[in-house]
């Protein structure tokens, strides 16, 4: 009823090209932001923060990053886990080497370092394409994990190679370490997630994003119309790795607090984030959020329903949970092959015509 353009007149180009052209959508967006920033921090508890929202936000950042590379620029990457590890270890080294500098700056710097590493491993993309490119990023994945496992300098020579985040504060509130409160952890992740999602949205609809999409759709044609494939591909690798690096830094310092490279940043992490963007929808910021929500929230939800409500044995519940997640992926796919984001778009189209679809 309310969800339509009618009566919403754009008088400037700015208005016309805004992200949410429909007024209802815009207000809904503001309402979501208001709840996320103004309500949730006051009611959140440790369980919701550590088990649900913080991992969701961090995975969303990583998924947006990977979506820039895979969904917008068309370069398949299976190195996400390795790049997250770069972010985490960079953050750890910075935190322990410069304890007086704010953790927020360290997280951003860790993202920057990851971007540099990402560009390095993105170089083969100039020659290798499609599924074959995955081999280059897999080489990055396994090599980086091996490196952080083998060189003691990265983990400050601790006996077992585990890194632990010491306590760091922002404005007097603990952000990392065990004393950080749920709302502070949530807010820090939310701010990063919001700022990066905003950045990603604006990058992808600007000149940079158009270049990436031209490369994705057909790189030879893009080259002919004047897109420099070297710069476009490497910039996508850089931006994507920056996002993933920030996600890795937050993952280690705020969420887990202690990490071990092979366990926390292994190949399954790369696959998990890739699954998120495919299930959510390639080339869609909303899809990154939807995919992260699907793969972070659904298992927790199923676990609580099966074990908590029905009282099933945990192992059976865990196996059934796998089956249900797998079946749901297939069902969604048959219903809508282009991911949750497309499902959302279709729903919005229907809504615009509702209640008189003809």
């Amino acid at each position: 009823m309310f969800y339509r353009e009618a009566g919403d007149f754009s008088t400037t180009y700015r208005d016309d090209s805004q992200t949410f052209p429909i007024r209802f959508d815009r207000y809904r967006y503001y309402a979501v932001l208001a709840v996320a920033f103004g309500v949730i921090p006051f009611i959140i508890n440790d369980y919701w923060a550590s088990a649900v929202l913080v991992p969701f936000l961090i995975y969303a950042i990583a998924a947006i990053g990977l979506n820039i590379l895979v969904g917008y620029c068309g370069q398949v990457s299976l190195g996400t886990g390795g790049f997250m590890a770069v972010g985490a270890y960079a953050c750890y080294k910075l935190m322990t080497a410069f304890p007086d500098v704010s953790i927020l700056i360290h997280v951003l710097l860790a993202g920057g370092i990851t971007a540099a590493v990402g560009v390095l491993f993105g170089l083969p993309s100039l020659r290798i394409k499609g599924f074959y490119l995955a081999v280059a990023t897999l080489a990055a994945q396994f090599f980086l994990v091996w490196l952080f496992n083998k060189v003691p300098w990265f983990y400050n020579y601790s006996a077992s190679g585990q890194i632990s985040a010491p306590e760091r504060t922002v404005l007097g509130y603990a952000v990392t370490g065990a004393n950080a409160s749920a709302s502070v952890k949530y807010l820090v992740c939310l701010i990063f997630c919001f700022a990066l999602a905003w950045l990603a949205r604006n990058l992808t609809r600007g000149a940079a994003g158009r270049k990436w999409m031209a490369i994705r759709d057909m790189d030879i044609a893009a080259e002919i119309i004047g897109v420099n494939p070297l710069r476009a591909k490497l910039s996508a690798f850089a931006v994507s790795s920056f996002f993933v690096g920030v996600a890795g830094a937050l993952f280690f310092s705020v969420y887990l607090g202690a990490a071990e490279v092979g366990e926390s940043f292994g190949i399954d992490k790369s696959f998990l984030v890739l699954f998120m963007i495919i299930i959510g929808g390639l080339g869609s910021i909303f899809g990154s959020f939807a995919g992260a929500a699907f793969l972070v929230l659904l298992p927790v939800l199923l676990k609580n329903v099966l074990v908590g409500q029905f009282g099933w044995p945990t192992d059976l519940a865990a196996h059934l949970q796998l089956m249900i997640v797998g079946a749901l992926i297939i069902v969604f796919l048959i219903a809508e092959p282009h991911g949750l984001a497309q499902l959302w778009r279709v729903a919005k189209e229907k809504l615009r015509l509702w209640p008189f679809p003809h």
Binding site: I128, K150, A221, H319, I334
Partner: protein
């Protein structure tokens, strides 16, 4: 001969045979990719599922025992019989065919003509589902798989090389069996696709779906066929790897070992999978043996990919892949 040459020879031979084991897993990927353009993420889980089913049949386990016991409060575990290996293998092959039919009916039929990435995603869902199903059906405990394959050092080779060089080479008998099986499998597959009617249909579909459809080849039948064959290859890989280290969840992770092989050999070439496997197996073992131990070891995982990467920089379509022709 100096010692290091002997060691190098021994490592090379073992590496080649390890490569054959990788290639066995890679073959399943290639078959499905070639016929339908699907990168089947579930191949590793299929190997696990096949091995679990095989052991379950052999030991007479009751499928879904745990689930039944929880729901009905019963206490059933075993039928109380054991089955000869050959019967169990046959039955498992039947199960894999049934699975291929189900996959085609329930999943692939609905996704004809979709982009490769979407079909890839369907196999992700399939992998999750099968992983859960295998555990619910047969339980997650570690199982011993014994179909009577020989295992351990081959005395013949040990003795022969000792007489010849003064140093007995170590060759695992299981690896020799795997090599023979892989060779037979590849020859059979190549003969099948070259000389039989269905093989030609398979190749036609691989070339062009729509053209194949228009000359009357049933796409659905070919898909069932190719998934059945891939299921059978998964069974063979499951038997080999399961004999080596028991049947349990980790068996599904052997797919990771097959990835560099695939990339190196090309996604569409059966001989490519074998040659790729040989190169990767030999390369990673030699590197780990001579250089890896100097830099702290455990280099095999990344070295396999770096090796594949070096090859790909020179041949972006893989060693045996079809040449990539780009048009604007």
């Amino acid at each position: 001969m100096p010692d290091w040459v002997l060691y190098a020879t021994e490592v090379t031979m073992n590496g080649l045979m390890a490569g054959v084991m990788y290639a066995l897993v890679a073959l399943g990927f290639v078959l499905i990719f070639k016929a339908s353009g699907i990168f089947n993420y579930a191949q590793g889980v299929m190997a696990l599922f096949a091995a679990l089913t095989l052991v379950g049949f052999q030991d007479g386990q009751v499928p879904f025992a745990h689930l039944i016991n929880v729901i009905f409060g019963t206490d059933v575990h075993h039928f109380g019989w054991t089955m000869p290996s050959i019967v169990a293998i046959g039955l498992t092959a039947v199960v894999m065919v049934a699975m291929a039919i189900l996959i085609e009916r329930l999943v692939l039929k609905h996704l004809v003509n979709q982009e490769p990435i979407i079909l890839f995603m369907a196999t992700i869902g399939l992998a999750y589902f099968l992983e859960g199903l295998g555990d619910v059906m047969w339980g997650a405990d570690i199982k011993k798989l014994d179909v009577g394959l020989p295992q351990g050092i081959s005395d013949t080779i040990d003795g022969f090389t000792y007489d010849a060089f003064g140093y007995g080479f170590f060759i695992d008998r299981l690896d020799i069996v795997a090599t023979v099986v892989a060779a037979a499998l590849v020859l059979a597959l190549m003969a099948f696709s070259q000389y039989t009617k269905y093989g030609r249909a398979l190749r036609a579909v691989a070339d062009d779906h729509q053209a194949a459809l228009s000359v009357g080849i049933s796409l659905r039948f070919v898909w069932v066929l190719v998934w059945s064959i891939a299921g059978f290859v998964a069974l063979v890989a499951g038997i080999m790897w399961g004999s080596k280290s028991g049947v349990q969840f980790s068996l599904s992770l052997i797919a990771l070992k097959a990835l560099p092989v695939l990339m190196l050999g090309g996604f569409t070439s059966i001989p490519g999978a074998i040659v790729g496997g040989l190169i990767i197996g030999m390369g990673e073992k030699l590197f780990e043996f001579f250089i890896g131990s100097m830099v702290g070891g455990a280099t095999e995982n990344w070295f396999a990919y770096v090796l594949a990467l070096i090859f790909l920089v020179f041949r972006p379509q893989g060693l045996f892949g079809e040449r990539i022709i780009e048009r604007v």
